[in-house]
């Protein structure tokens, strides 16, 4: 267990996912009708599948040298940010409205990844000021200048 090559495992896993996608694309291209509408997709899916198999073999045999994969430390740091981004897009923007949701997302992301003190009231004040300033610019640009109708929610 001590000699597990995590880079090779990750490369193989990524190559397997791409291979599965290529397989699904090829299967859909060759099983759906009318054939004329799927003529070009069929040619492309063959190239996609052949290259995916080649890529998978290279990864499984340890020949895939490009791409370092993800280390655990980076994945742990990324997880909360990715979760917030997902919640914002699929839930907060819909129910709270774009501007409120964006303000909350900005300050949460900024605060989580900000290396400055998290106990000092001054840094929190600075974060709040930067967030308000940024959102004011976004409001000015999108609502006043570009006149984009953004989805309204519970608040605005």
């Amino acid at each position: 267990m001590a000699n597990v090559d995590y880079k090779k495992v990750q490369q193989t896993l990524a190559a397997a996912i791409v291979l599965i996608v290529a397989g699904i694309v090829a299967w859909l291209s060759y099983t759906r009708e009318p054939a004329e509408a799927f003529l070009f997709p069929r040619y492309i899916s063959i190239a996609f599948l052949v290259l995916s198999i080649w890529n998978f073999v290279r990864a499984a045999t340890g020949m895939a040298l490009v791409g370092r994969g993800m280390d655990l430390g980076s994945a742990i740091w990324l997880a909360p940010g990715l979760a917030i981004m997902t919640i914002y897009i699929f839930w907060m923007a819909k129910y709270l409205g774009f501007y409120v949701a964006s303000t909350l997302t900005f300050i949460i992301l900024f605060s989580i990844y900000d290396p400055s003190s998290h106990t000092s009231p001054r840094t929190w004040l600075a974060r709040a000021a930067i967030t308000i300033g940024f959102m004011a610019i976004m409001y000015g640009l999108f609502a006043l200048v570009l006149k984009v109708q953004l989805p309204r929610g519970l608040f605005i």
Partner: protein, 503 residues
């Protein structure tokens, strides 16, 4: 000399303000590490919806040119290239700045950028109409092979891995087929409601270029940017100009190298700067001084990466084949205004095309004037903490993707593609061939189907697509690009294996 009659459009108040804003904004964005020129241009596209087509293109063109030049500021003052194109600039530029010659390095960088940029745009002006006339003779089979060539060249030359580069191109081609088939009206690969109308190019571009960079910044955690900015003290501009003129060899090599590399689809500014630096070093009398703060290094690298900008647009404007990821983003900017580049562009939209090109020429001069004076400010802005940059770029990406069609579906597609691309990049896949596949897919498919129809009435598809001088020439270029990349991969793998054995 048709281009001369459209200079007036650039000096219209709104157009000129946009050119000025795009240049200054581009210089600041370019100086900010972590924000690539392609991403900056992609994020600007939503702001062009409400502008006239020529005004929108002026903004995008100014941002494209000046973000590459702006990258020199952080390369010289912070030793962090603002864009991959500025890697070679940092080698001598930062050493010059540490020696107290920061202003001279910046002067040389911006002046040689402008010289390279002007020559590059002049090539664009004089070569584009000639090639456009030649391209009028192209039929569907030729355009099909050109689209395939665009994907294979960028897939093989722009990627570190030959297989993964081509695979990225295939993924892009497949993504381009999602939605309704244009001819039969049949649904293809629609897995969610958001995909019914196909993948919106602008939302996809924002997602593919902005989201992976945001995620990369987040994955680094709470990093403190403890970089020392070297403050620039005033120095004589005239002395720097004399220095540039006295290094005419470096300036010429940089400009010629950049112009040639720019025309080749997929090669890009990063390679232009490094190749020019290397070539200048090889023939310089002071080759040992390279890397120790030698002005020739800065001049060669910066003239090359800006000379590349104009010629990189030639395949886009004549054949609607974007030669680089940023050119692909510009194509998106053209398409949203209903302008299809290609041989007819200079007939149907002469005013838009020439005003855009003229603005790029004037933009080179604005870039020198403002670049030199806002370098200190740009370097300070470049130190904005990653936490603010990541949060800001993410919110801007969401607003931008939504405003394309006022659809949350586009935002979902944008985030899905962006997250997917982040993980693909971690395993050696590349965004550039994927984007090219996504953009060139419809061009390849429509020409393939048109060619099939014509071939049905003639001697069959094999004869139609695989014979004729031009078809054979284009097919041999496709094969050559694949073989060259395959050979390079084998060579690199052998070197890696040898170095492992040596260890």
């Amino acid at each position: 000399m048709e281009f001369l009659s459209y200079f007036g459009n650039v000096f219209e108040p709104i157009s000129f303000m946009l050119l000025l804003g795009g240049t200054i904004g581009g210089l600041i964005l370019g100086a900010t590490p972590g924000l690539s020129p392609t991403m900056a241009v992609a994020l600007l596209i939503p702001f062009t919806f409400h502008l006239a087509p020529h005004q929108g293109l002026i903004l995008l063109g100014a941002a494209y040119t000046s973000t590459i030049a702006g990258g020199a500021v952080s390369a010289i003052l912070l030793n962090i290239p603002g864009a991959p194109a500025n890697i070679a600039t940092a080698l001598d530029g930062h050493v010059m700045a540490k020696k107290g010659e920061g202003a001279k390095a910046l002067h040389l960088a911006f002046m040689s950028s402008a010289v390279g940029g002007v020559i590059g745009v002049l090539l664009l002006i004089f070569l584009t109409p000639v090639l456009a006339k030649w391209a009028l003779a192209f039929g569907p089979s030729h355009l099909f092979w050109i689209a395939i060539l665009g994907v294979t060249v960028i897939g093989t030359l722009d990627s570190k891995s030959f297989v993964k580069g081509l695979l990225s191109g295939c993924i892009g081609l497949w993504l381009s087929m999602i939605g309704y088939d244009d001819i039969q009206g049949v649904q293809r690969f629609i897995f969610a409601d958001a995909l019914t109308g196909g993948i919106n190019i602008i939302a996809a571009l924002i997602g593919l270029f902005a989201i992976p960079q945001v995620m990369e910044m987040l994955s680094r955690g709470r990093t403190i940017t403890d970089i020392d900015v070297i403050t620039v003290r005033h120095q004589s501009l005239l002395a720097s100009f004399r220095e540039m003129i006295s290094n005419m060899k470096a300036l010429s090599i940089g400009t010629i190298t950049g112009s040639i590399i720019g025309i080749i689809p997929g090669v890009g500014g990063q390679i232009a700067g490094l190749v020019a630096y290397d070539q200048t070093k090889k023939i310089s009398r002071d080759r040992r001084k390279f890397g120790t703060g030698h002005p020739e290094g800065v001049i060669a690298a910066e003239s090359a990466n800006n000379a590349m900008v104009g010629p990189s647009l030639i395949p886009l404007l004549t054949l609607s084949i974007p030669g680089s990821p940023t050119a692909a983003v510009l194509l998106g900017g053209l398409l949203i205004h209903g302008i299809f580049p290609g041989p007819d562009l200079f007939k149907n939209h002469a005013a838009v095309a020439w005003t855009f090109i003229d603005s790029m020429l004037i933009g080179q001069f604005l870039m020198v004037i403002f670049g030199i004076y806002i370098a200190n400010l740009a370097a300070k802005i470049a130190q904005v903490p990653r936490s603010i940059l990541a949060a800001g770029v993410f919110i801007l990406a969401v607003f931008g993707a939504y405003s394309v069609q006022q659809s949350m579906g586009d935002v979902h597609v944008m985030i899905a593609l962006g997250v997917g691309m982040f993980f693909l990049e971690k395993y050696g896949f590349s965004a550039a061939p994927l984007v090219l596949g996504l953009i060139l897919g419809p061009i390849a498919e429509s020409n393939f189907l048109q060619g099939n129809l014509i071939a049905g009435a003639q001697d069959g598809p094999a004869i139609y697509f695989l014979t004729g001088y031009l078809n054979l020439f284009l097919i041999s270029l496709v094969i050559l690009s694949i073989c060259f990349a395959f050979w390079t991969t084998l060579k690199v793998n052998r070197l890696i294996a040898l170095s492992k054995e040596a260890e």
